[in-house]
Amino acid sequence: MSENPTRSIEPSYLKYKGRYGGIFAWIFSTDHKRIGLLYLWSIMTFFIVGAILGLLMKMELISPGKNIMGPQTYNGFFTLHGIIMIFLIVIPGLPAVFGNFFLPIMIGAKDVAFPRLNLTSWWLYMFGALVVLTSQFTGGGPPDTGWTFYAPYSFQTPTNMLPAVTGAFILGFSSILTGLNFIVTIHRMRAPGMGWFKMPLFPWSLYATGWIQLIATPIVGVTLLMIIAERTLNIGFFDPSLGGDPILYQHLFWIYSHPAVYIMILPAMGAISEIIPTFARKTIFGYKAIIASTVAIAFVGYFVWGHHMFTSGMSGVALYTFSILTFLVAIPSAIKVFNWVSTMHKASINLQTPFYWAVSFIFVFMIGGFSGLVLGALATNVHLHDTHFVVAHFHFIVFGGTGFAFLGAMHYWFPKVFGRKYDAGWANIGWLTFFIGFITLYGPMFYLGIAGMPRRYYDYVEVFHGGNIISSFGSIILIAGIAIVITNLVKSAISGEKADQNPWGGITLEWKVPSPPPLENFDEIPHVTRGPYDYS
C-alpha cells in the first residue's frame, strides 16, 4: 500500500481487498482494470501457443518434403494458428486489454457502463477459447479448413469442426458485448466538460471499433450457426449438391471478416495517435481529420469485403465496385499516416522505446498497406490471390500493424499499469531484434508470392526453396526478439524500479492518476476544459 507516495492514500487496483481473495479476486472482479489485466494474461498465453505453431510451420517449410510433420498436422496447425491469432488475439487485443484498462480513465470515468457485463465478456472469451481448443483433442481431430471455414469443404471434412465453429461463435459474442459496453460508456460517462471533440483519439478509435463489432459480428455469428446447422441437420445452405451456393458463404464470411480487420487496426491506430503526441510533446496534427478518417475507415470498410473473392467467379460489376471501394478505403489510412508524420514536425521528440515502436509501426504499416493496394487491383490480385504474397500482406499489417502498436502501447502504458519501469536498454534491444527478425521473416514471403507459391501449401517445388530458408531463418530471429521483449516486461512488472505518476509527461487523463491507479481511478471526477493534446 506504499505504492503511491505521490498522492492517493487509496490502495492501487492491484492491491485492494475485495470480497474474494487469491485468484478469485481477479476472475470475479468487475473492476475494469483487473479485467484488462485478465485479458492481457490470457491473450499472452494464447499468443505464445499461436506463435509456436507459426514457428513450427516455418520449420516445416524450411525445405521441401517432410521435415517435422505430416500434411494433416500442418493443415491443422495453420487453421489453429489463424483462429488463435485472429479470434483470440488481434480482435480482442487492444480493445480488451488497453480499452478496458484505459478507456474509463481517459474519459474520466470510474468504470465502464456495465462492469458485470464486462466480466461476462471475459468469461465468454475464456469459454469460447476453451471450446475452440477442445476441437484439437476430441472427435475427428484438429479442424483443417483454414480460419475461413470455406464451404463446402468445411461440411465434408471428417475433422472436428463443430467445437471450432461453436467456439468462434461464442468469441464473437464476447466481442459484441465488449463493443456494446464501450459505446455506452463513451456516450454516457464522459467527464463533465469532455465534449466529443475533447475526447482523446484512443477512445475515439474504440468508439468506431465498437460500432464495427456491433454491426459486423452478428453476420458471422449467424453464418457460423448455419455451418453448425448444416453439419448437424444437412440443410443445404451452402452445399452445391443440395442447391446451396458456396460463394454466398464467402460473401457472408467476409461481410464480417473484412470489417474485422479494421476492428484489429483501428484501436492500434488509436494507440499510435496517443504515443506520438506524448513523445513529441506536441499537439497532434489534424485532430479532427484523424477522427474523420477513423469514422470513414469504419464506415467504408463495411462495404469492401468482396476483395477477398476476386477470383471466386463474381460478376464483373461486383469486381469493379469492390475494387474501387477497396482503393478508396485506403485513403483514410493515408491521411492518418500523413498526420502522424506531420506531428513530428517541429516537435521536441523524447526518443523512448514506445516511440520506436510507433515509428516502426508506421513503416511496416505502409508496406503492409501498399501490398494491400497491390491485392486490391484486379489484374494483380488474380495472380497473387491465395499466394504467400497475401500471407506477407496480412502478417505485415496484422502482426506488423496491430502487433507493433500493441507492443508500443504495452511499453507506453507499462508504468501506469504496473507502477514500475521497464528496463529501457533491454527494451530497445528487444525492439531492434524483433524488427529485424520481422522483416527477414515476412519480407521474403512477398517474393515467394510473386513467384507463385500458393498459401496453405505443406510442401513446395524446389524453386521456392531459397526464399523459404531466409524466411524460416527470420522466424528464429523474431523469437529471440519476442523472448527478449516479453522477458523484459515480465521481469520489470515483478521487480522493476518504481515509476512515478507521469514518466513521459503525457497530458491525457490517465497520467493524472497515480501509477498504478486506485480502485476507482479518481478521487473526484475531473472537470475537463482543455483539448486532449493541448501542450501549450
Binding site: 470480497r19 452478428p218 444437412n234 440443410i235 443445404g236 445452405f237 451456393d245
Partner: protein, 205 residues
C-alpha cells in the same frame, strides 16, 4: 453484489441501459439481416420453387400468429404506460396477457411445424430432396429462421416472467422501471422480425 465488483457506488443510469438495449437490438437485427441476405439471394436464384413452396405454408396460421404478436406487442407497450402511471395491477395483467399470447404463438408454431414434419417436410428429409433444390432451401430457411425466431420468443417468455416477478415484488416500480422498458424493447424486436418473416414466407406466393 456491488462489493464484489469492488465498485461500491455504481450509479444508476437508466439512459445507459436503454442505449445498451438498443445496441443489442441492432446486433439482433443484423443477425437476422444475415439470414435475410441468404433468403433473398436464394429466392432470386430459385424464384419459381420458392413461390410454390410458400404455397405449402398455411396463411391462416401465419396470419393468426402475426395478429397474436402484434397484440402482444401492444400489451407490453401498454404495460409500460401502466407502470408509469403507477398502476401495478394493470401492469401485471398486461404482462400476463403478453406472456399468454407468447405461449399461444408457440403452441401455434408447434402444431404448424408438427404438421409439416409429419408430412415429411423437414431438413434433410427424403421428400424434400425429391422436390428439388429450391424447396430444400426454402424449407431449410423456413425452419432455420422461424426456429431462431421461436428461440427468441422462448427467451422472451423467460424474461417477461422474470419481470413479472420483479414487478410483483416491487423491485421494478414507477420510479425504476428500466428493466420493464428494455424488456418491452426486446419484445418489440421479436415482433419486428416477425413482421418481415411473415410476408416473406407465407405471403409472396
Amino acid at each position: 453484489m456491488e462489493q464484489t465488483s469492488g465498485n461500491p457506488h455504481i450509479h444508476r443510469d437508466d439512459e445507459a441501459s436503454k442505449i445498451g438495449m438498443w445496441l443489442f437490438i441492432f446486433t439482433e437485427m443484423l443477425l437476422f439481416g444475415g439470414l435475410f441476405i441468404v433468403y433473398s439471394i436464394y429466392r432470386y436464384l430459385h424464384p419459381v420453387a420458392f413461390e410454390l413452396a410458400a404455397d405449402e405454408l398455411d396463411v391462416l396460421v401465419g396470419t393468426a400468429n402475426t395478429v397474436i404478436l402484434l397484440v402482444s406487442s401492444m400489451t407490453i407497450a401498454m404495460s409500460v404506460t401502466a407502470m408509469q402511471k403507477g398502476n401495478k395491477k394493470l401492469t401485471l395483467a398486461l404482462l400476463g396477457a403478453t406472456l399468454f399470447l407468447a405461449l399461444a404463438f408457440l403452441v401455434n408454431k408447434y402444431f404448424e411445424w408438427g404438421s409439416k414434419i409429419s408430412y415429411g417436410l423437414y431438413p434433410g428429409s427424403e421428400r424434400l430432396h425429391e422436390f428439388g433444390h429450391g424447396d430444400t432451401l426454402f424449407f431449410g430457411l423456413y425452419y432455420f429462421m422461424t426456429g431462431l425466431h421461436a428461440l427468441h420468443i422462448i427467451i422472451g417468455v423467460v424474461i417477461i416472467s422474470a419481470v413479472m416477478y420483479r414487478v410483483h415484488k416491487e423491485m421494478v416500480h414507477p420510479t425504476k422501471y428500466a428493466l420493464l422498458e428494455n424488456t418491452g424493447l426486446y419484445w418489440h424486436l421479436v415482433d419486428l422480425i416477425w413482421i418481415f418473416l411473415f410476408p416473406l414466407f407465407y405471403l409472396v406466393t
